[in-house]
C-alpha cells in the first residue's frame, strides 16, 4: 500500500468510527450514509448519445471493518456505479478492461441488440486483458435492471462485477400512484471469499500464460477449451482431448459456499440506513446480483410491491416479506406510517452472518428522521425495571441497588451510553 492509499483508507475509517451509528439522527450520519449507497455514474453527451465509461480492475474490498479481500470491481467500487437513464435514451458504454482476465458486460433485463448482450462466444468475443469494448443500445424497457460480467460468471459476479441500471420513465405510473421524493437502490449479493481468492489467483496465473501464447500465435482451441463448433470439439476428443469436466481431470466440485452477504457491497455493521419521515413514501429498488435467495423482511410495516423485474405492476399489493431470487429485481414502496428504527433483513438468518457469525450480512435499518432523540434513550422508555426506575423495582424493599441514582454506573459499565441503536457483534 502506498502512502496515498494509506491516507485514503485512514480517512474512510475515521468517518466510520465517528458517525456510525451513535449519532444516527445527526446530519453527519446521513452524509456518511451516502457513501454506502450506490454512486451514480456521470455521463457525457455525444450528439444524442449518453456516453458512460466503465472500467474493471482488481480491488481490495472491505465489506465490514477488519475484513478485506481481493475482488473485481467496476470503477473501484462495489457495486459498480449506477447507470441512470431515461427510457428511449441512446446509451453508449465504453468498457475498459484493466485486468489480466477476460470480461464482458451483460445488461440484465434490457432490450439490447443481440450483439450487445455480453455473452462471450454467443454474442461477442470476450474483452481481453487491457482491451476495450463499446456497448451501444437504446434504454428500454423502463424499470430497475442491472449489469454484470458474463465471463466466468460464477466467480466474476460474486467477485463484485455488478451494478444497477435504472431506466426511468418521465411518466412513471408508480410515482403517480405513490408520490415519492427519495428512493434507494439496494443491490444484494453473496460471496464465497475463499473461492474468489483461489479462483482469481488460478485464473490470473493461467491468463498470464495464455496471453503469452496468444501473442506468439501458439494458442489453440484445446488449450483454451473453446471450439468453433461441436464437430471440432468431438473431433478433438477423438484425437485424445479430454474436456476439463471429466473425472480424470477434475474431482468433486468445489462450488462456492457463500460466507459473506452484502447489501451495496457492505455487510452489517457497515450496511446502509434507509431514511424516511413520517407521512413520506420512499421507493426501494431491490436487486439480487448474487446466487442466493434473500427473503427480505421489514419490521413494523407492510410495503407495496410495485414492480417485478422492472415491470410496473398494474395492481400493487402489500407484503412484509419478499423472496428476492437470483437475477430478480423488485421495486417496493414503504409508507412512513410507524415512526421508529426498524430492521430490514434477510429472514433466512444464515445470510445475516459474517463468516458464519450472527449478526452480520444483510441486516440494515429503516430510520425515521423525525424520531425524537429522546426516544433513543434506553432507560427512559425501557419496560425493563433494570434500566427504568419508574417501571417499578426501585421502590421495592431490598432493591436499593435498582434505585435510579445507583443504576447509572452499573448500566454504563455493562452497556456504555444510554442510547440506541448499538452495534452488536456475537462473541
Amino acid at each position: 500500500m502506498d502512502r496515498r492509499d494509506f491516507l485514503a483508507t485512514g480517512a474512510v475509517s475515521t468517518a466510520g468510527v465517528l458517525f456510525f451509528p451513535g449519532n444516527l439522527l445527526a446530519k453527519e450520519a446521513k452524509m456518511s450514509n451516502k457513501k454506502k449507497l450506490v454512486q451514480t455514474l456521470p455521463y457525457k453527451m455525444d450528439g444524442e448519445w449518453k456516453e458512460f465509461e466503465l472500467y474493471i480492475d482488481i480491488h481490495t474490498h472491505e465489506p465490514a471493518p477488519g475484513f478485506k479481500y481481493h475482488t473485481l470491481a467496476f470503477n473501484d467500487m462495489i457495486p459498480g456505479p449506477e447507470i441512470r437513464v431515461n427510457a428511449g435514451d441512446k446509451v453508449r458504454v465504453k468498457f475498459i478492461n484493466k485486468t489480466d482476465l477476460n470480461h464482458t458486460i451483460h445488461w440484465h433485463g434490457v432490450y439490447v441488440p443481440w450483439r450487445m448482450d455480453g455473452v462471450p462466444f454467443v454474442t461477442q468475443l470476450p474483452v481481453m486483458p487491457k482491451n476495450e469494448f463499446i456497448y451501444e443500445f437504446v434504454a428500454e424497457p423502463e424499470g430497475t435492471h442491472f449489469y454484470h460480467c458474463h465471463w466466468g460468471t460464477l466467480m466474476h459476479m460474486q467477485a463484485g462485477m455488478f451494478g444497477s441500471l435504472i431506466v426511468e420513465n418521465p411518466n412513471d405510473p408508480i410515482k403517480k400512484k405513490f408520490p415519492y421524493e427519495r428512493e434507494y437502490t439496494l443491490v444484494y449479493s453473496s460471496h464465497d471469499t475463499n473461492y474468489i481468492r483461489e479462483e482469481m489467483n488460478g485464473m490470473l496465473e493461467r491468463m498470464k500464460q495464455r496471453s503469452y501464447l496468444m501473442k506468439e500465435g501458439r494458442f489453440n482451441s484445446e488449450q483454451w477449451a473453446v471450439f468453433d463448433n461441436k464437430e471440432q470439439f468431438v473431433s478433438s476428443m477423438e484425437n485424445g482431448y479430454q474436456p476439463p469436466y471429466v473425472t480424470n481431470r477434475r474431482s468433486n466440485s468445489d462450488l462456492p459456499q457463500a460466507n459473506w452477504f452484502t447489501v451495496n457491497g457492505k455487510s452489517y455493521p457497515s450496511t446502509p440506513y434507509l431514511f424516511i419521515k413520517s407521512g413520506e413514501n420512499i421507493r426501494i429498488r431491490l436487486i439480487n446480483a448474487g446466487a442466493e435467495t434473500h427473503h427480505l423482511h421489514l419490521h413494523g410495516h407492510d410495503f407495496w410491491m410495485v414492480a417485478d423485474d422492472g415491470v410496473p405492476l398494474e395492481h400493487p399489493f402489500k407484503r412484509n416479506t419478499v423472496p428476492l431470487t437470483p437475477g430478480k429485481t423488485f421495486d417496493i414502496i414503504v409508507e412512513g406510517t410507524n415512526r421508529g428504527i426498524w430492521t430490514f433483513h434477510d429472514h433466512d438468518t444464515r445470510k445475516v452472518t459474517n463468516n458464519g457469525l450472527y449478526p452480520g450480512g444483510n441486516l440494515l435499518a429503516l430510520v425515521y428522521e423525525d424520531l425524537p432523540a429522546d426516544e433513543l434513550i434506553i432507560s427512559k422508555h425501557s419496560g425493563n425495571p433494570m434500566y427504568n426506575s419508574n417501571a417499578g423495582m426501585g421502590d421495592m424493599k431490598g432493591m436499593d441497588a435498582m434505585k435510579n441514582e445507583n443504576m447509572g454506573t452499573m448500566n454504563k459499565m455493562m452497556f456504555g451510553e444510554d442510547k440506541l441503536p448499538k452495534i452488536a457483534l456475537d462473541e
Binding site: H70, R197, L204, Q209, Y212, E222, N248
Partner: protein, 384 residues
C-alpha cells in the same frame, strides 16, 4: 474457588475456539524397480524409499502473523538405521509478510536447489553440504536437522536467513545442542512468476559453520568445519509449453588440513572438497499441466587435500511421463565413479537403472487466507 474459576475459563475458552485451521496434505509415493550393475547394493523389485506424507495446519494469529504446524514422515532406505518410519518434518513456522521464523526438525539450508532426480537423495554427495557429525549410514541425517531459523524478506524476492541447527551426531545421539550456524542469502522469484522470467529464476549463497570437535583447536571457529554454497537456477527457455531450465550448485567445503586420508564417512565430510552439480531440464506442458519431462545432469567432486588423487563423478539422466493427474511413469539412469580414497569408501563405479511410478499430491483444505506468494498478494496489495 479462584482455581475453579480459572479452570472454568480455560475450558470455556477451549470450547469456544472458533478456528479450524487450514489443513494441508502433501504426499509423495515413489515406487521403483532397481537394476544395479557393479554395485554392492542388491537389485530391488519394489523400492519405496523416499515415500513421504506431509501434513500442515495453518491459521492466522491475532497480530496478523500466520502460524503453521507441520508434521511429516518418510519411509527411509531399508538399511538406514532409522526404523520403518522417519519423522523428517516436525516444526512450527511463524510468518508475516516479511518475516519467517521456523523451529523444529525440517530440511536444513545445506542444499539451496531442488534438482530433478527421482529421489531427493539420488545425488546426495553432490547436492548437499554433508553433515560432519554423521556416520553416513543414511542420507536423512544430512538432509534434516533440528533448526532454529529466522528469515527476513526484502522486496518479495531477497531472502536473508540466519539459522542454527542441531544436526544428528552419530557419536553423541543424545546431544541436542546447537552444533551448526549459518547465513543464507537468496534471490528467488516467487513460484507463481517463475515460468516467464527471462533468465534468473534464483541465485543464492549459503555459509555453514559446523562446531566440530577438532583436536588441538580450542576456538570454536577454528575447530569448525566450514562450507560455502552457491546455487542458481536459470531459465534457458521460459515458455509455458516448452520450458527449459538449468540448475547449478557448487559447494566448497574448507575442511581440515589434517584429514588427508579417508578412513570413514567422518573423514569424507571433514576433508576439503569442491563439488559442482548441474542439470538441464526440459518440461513439456499440455493443457497447462506437465506432460513429460526429460533431464540430464552431472556432478564432479574433488578432494584435493588427500594423499591420493581422489575424485567422484556422477552422471544422471531421467524422464517422466504423466499418465494421469498426480501420477507419473519414470525411468532413471545413474552412473557413479569414484577414484582414490572414495573408491574404498563407496566402490569403484556403479550403473543403476530404475523404472518407477511416482505419485505426488498437495492440497490445502479449508482455505481461509492467501499465501504470501500468490499473485493477488504479490501484485495487488498484500492482505494481512
Amino acid at each position: 474457588m479462584k482455581k475453579l474459576i480459572y479452570l472454568s475459563l480455560l475450558i470455556t475458552g477451549l470450547a469456544n475456539a472458533q478456528i479450524t485451521p487450514e489443513f494441508e496434505i502433501g504426499a509423495k509415493g515413489v515406487f521403483s524397480g532397481n537394476l544395479n550393475f557393479n554395485s554392492e547394493e542388491s537389485n530391488a523389485v519394489s523400492d519405496f524409499s523416499d515415500t513421504q506424507l506431509l501434513m500442515g495446519l495453518s491459521q492466522k494469529l491475532y497480530n496478523n502473523w500466520r502460524a503453521q504446524f507441520v508434521l511429516g514422515l518418510q519411509f527411509p532406505d531399508a538399511n538406514s538405521n532409522l526404523g520403518d518410519v522417519f519423522y523428517n518434518n516436525i516444526f512450527i513456522r511463524l510468518e508475516d509478510k516479511k518475516n519467517i521464523v521456523k523451529v523444529g526438525r525440517t530440511i536444513a539450508q545445506t542444499n539451496l536447489n531442488e534438482f530433478p532426480t527421482l529421489r531427493d537423495d539420488d545425488a546426495q554427495q553432490f547436492t548437499y553440504a554433508l553433515n560432519p557429525f554423521s556416520d553416513g549410514v543414511n542420507t536423512e541425517r544430512d538432509q534434516y536437522a533440528n533448526v532454529l531459523e529466522y528469515t527476513h524478506i526484502f522486496k518479495q524476492r531477497f531472502y536473508v536467513s540466519l539459522h542454527g541447527e542441531n544436526f544428528y551426531d552419530s557419536r553423541e545421539p543424545d546431544d541436542f545442542r546447537l552444533n551448526s550456524t549459518g547465513l543464507t542469502l537468496m534471490y528467488r522469484i516467487p513460484e507463481s512468476q517463475r515460468w516467464n522470467r527471462n533468465v534468473i529464476q534464483e541465485v543464492g549463497f549459503s555459509y555453514n559453520n559446523y562446531f566440530t570437535d577438532r583436536q588441538g583447536y580450542s576456538n570454536d571457529f577454528d575447530a569448525s568445519v566450514k562450507n560455502l554454497l552457491f546455487s542458481t537456477t536459470l531459465n534457458l527457455k521460459p515458455d509455458p509449453i516448452n520450458f527449459i531450465d538449468f540448475r547449478l550448485q557448487a559447494i566448497q567445503n574448507f575442511g581440515w588440513d589434517e584429514v588427508n586420508m579417508l578412513n570413514d564417512y567422518f573423514d569424507y565430510t571433514r576433508t576439503e572438497s569442491s563439488t559442482v552439480f548441474g542439470t538441464f531440464r526440459y518440461l513439456k506442458q499440455k493443457l497447462e499441466r506437465p506432460h513429460y519431462q526429460i533431464s540430464i545432469g552431472g556432478g564432479y567432486k574433488s578432494l584435493p587435500n588427500l594423499e591420493v588423487d581422489s575424485n567422484q563423478l556422477l552422471l544422471i539422466a531421467n524422464g517422466f511421463y504423466r499418465i494421469g493427474e498426480n501420477f507419473d511413469l519414470g525411468v532413471q539412469y545413474r552412473y557413479t565413479e569414484n577414484s582414490g580414497f572414495t573408491e574404498n569408501l563407496f566402490g569403484k563405479n556403479e550403473h543403476r537403472i530404475q523404472l518407477a511410478v511416482v505419485y505426488s499430491f498437495s492440497k490445502i483444505f479449508n482455505k481461509q487466507f492467501g499465501d504470501r506468494e500468490d499473485l493477488l498478494n504479490l501484485e495487488h496489495n498484500y492482505i494481512k
